[in-house]
């Protein structure tokens, strides 16, 4: 009887110790911690690809494949996004009908600020992307908004990215539960499987960067937005971040959300934040 009681008490104390040891970890796992997430995210890629220079991840598939990289470097002498860049520069400087320009809507006249987008607007309680800010600027000045997926929007963001080339991504998450929720929502969106193919963004860009998917080499998720917007040979034209999200969804046979849906804004916030410190390389060119 005495032995039985001792065993029972022993088991009980062991269970209590185990509970005490595991509980804080459960709590910690549920807490939104963007700093820890970004560190873990970057370390994952740095360890998976130890020979890739950290700042090179922003060059997507070219950081994963030497042959492709050489071809791309030669192509950069006459880059396919050059027309969009020139058009964007001109559009940026052309006044609206009311005489104002895009420069009036942005800090520092819109020059060299790409690395700060998207940001969390505490007044609105939502993430604001560069594309969204550009269309809001147009609407505030009596102009019709542009399509979020190509042409004029891609040209404008190409020019703005170009003026920020080399500047490290610098996304802030204010001490606001709504900002943390947006970050967490973006993270959830990034890792959630969708579409008939049952793929998440991470299926390709975390689990398989550097691998081929049909004829293409998958880009790493780290720094993937630093190169936006991009000229894609597959598209025979320029595409924005919105276009990238929409086509990724379609490729997994998921019906895409509307451009600039909350989910897309949040996933852009998440992906940009975890790339903090890596240089802006947009506009980019991809196969």
């Amino acid at each position: 009887m005495k032995a039985r009681t001792s065993i029972l008490l022993g088991s009980l104390s062991a269970a209590l110790v185990a509970l005490a040891l595991t509980s804080p970890r459960v709590v910690a796992a549920d807490k939104v911690d963007p700093v820890a997430d970004a560190k873990a995210f970057q370390n994952f890629f740095f360890q998976k690809f130890p020979t890739v220079k950290h700042e090179d991840f922003v060059n997507g598939p070219y950081s994963m494949n030497e042959d492709m990289k050489r071809q791309w470097q030669e192509k950069e002498e006459f880059p396919p996004y050059e027309f969009a860049l020139d058009a964007g520069k001109e559009m940026f400087a052309t006044p609206f009908k009311n005489g104002k320009t895009y420069a009036d809507c942005f800090p520092n006249g819109g020059i060299g600020i790409r690395q700060n987008y998207p940001y969390f607007d505490e007044k609105e309680g939502k993430v604001v992307t560069l594309e969204l800010a550009l269309n809001r600027c147009r609407e505030a000045n009596g102009e019709a908004p542009y399509s979020y997926v190509k042409d004029e929007m891609a040209s404008l963001t190409a020019y703005m990215a170009f003026t920020s080339r080399g500047k490290p991504m610098d996304i802030k998450i204010p001490d606001d539960p709504r900002a943390l929720a947006a970050f967490e929502n973006g993270k959830r969106y990034f890792y959630t499987r969708r579409g008939q193919l049952n793929f998440s963004c991470a299926s390709c860009h975390v689990q398989s960067p550097g691998e081929r998917i049909r004829a293409e080499i998958l880009a790493p998720a780290l720094g993937i937005l630093n190169a936006m917007p991009i000229y894609r040979s597959e598209w025979s034209g320029m595409g924005t971040t919105s276009r990238r999200f929409v086509t990724c969804n379609s490729q997994t046979r998921a019906v895409p959300l509307e451009p600039q849906a909350d989910e897309y804004r949040d996933v852009e916030y998440f992906l940009s934040y975890v790339a903090n410190g890596l240089p802006i390389s947009g506009p980019g060119a991809r196969p």
């Binding site: 993270k187 008939q196 991470a202 019906v255």
Partner: protein, 105 residues
């Protein structure tokens, strides 16, 4: 009582003929019922923001077949669309927690 083999076979055949639903061509009512079920599931998936492109295209194929009077094909497509929509609903529900398994920590 032990049945003789030919008698047992005959019995089985009669039972099969008697119990199996008679194969008949689908009509507009069958199509409407199948399409309504598929559409309801599809709307539920869309409400969860987890619609699949193949659900939408298979629903459209069902409608096209019905418009052309081919109700067999229309019913088959509608049932397939319903199955696809239900799979996407299952995916949305299971991913509410399952996404965490993929997270880099």
């Amino acid at each position: 009582m032990k049945l003789s083999l030919p008698f047992a076979r005959l019995l089985a055949l009669l039972l099969t003929l008697g119990l199996a639903p008679a194969a008949r061509a689908a009509d507009e009512a069958d199509y409407k019922a199948a399409f309504a079920a598929a559409e309801a599931a599809s709307k539920e998936a869309a409400g969860m923001r987890n619609q699949w492109t193949v659900t939408v295209s298979t629903l459209a194929a069902a409608k096209k077949a019905a418009d052309g009077g081919d109700f067999d094909r229309a019913v088959a497509a509608a049932r397939e669309a319903e199955a696809l929509a239900k799979a996407s609903i299952f995916q949305a529900i299971s991913e509410k927690e399952a996404w965490k398994a993929m997270e880099i920590r």
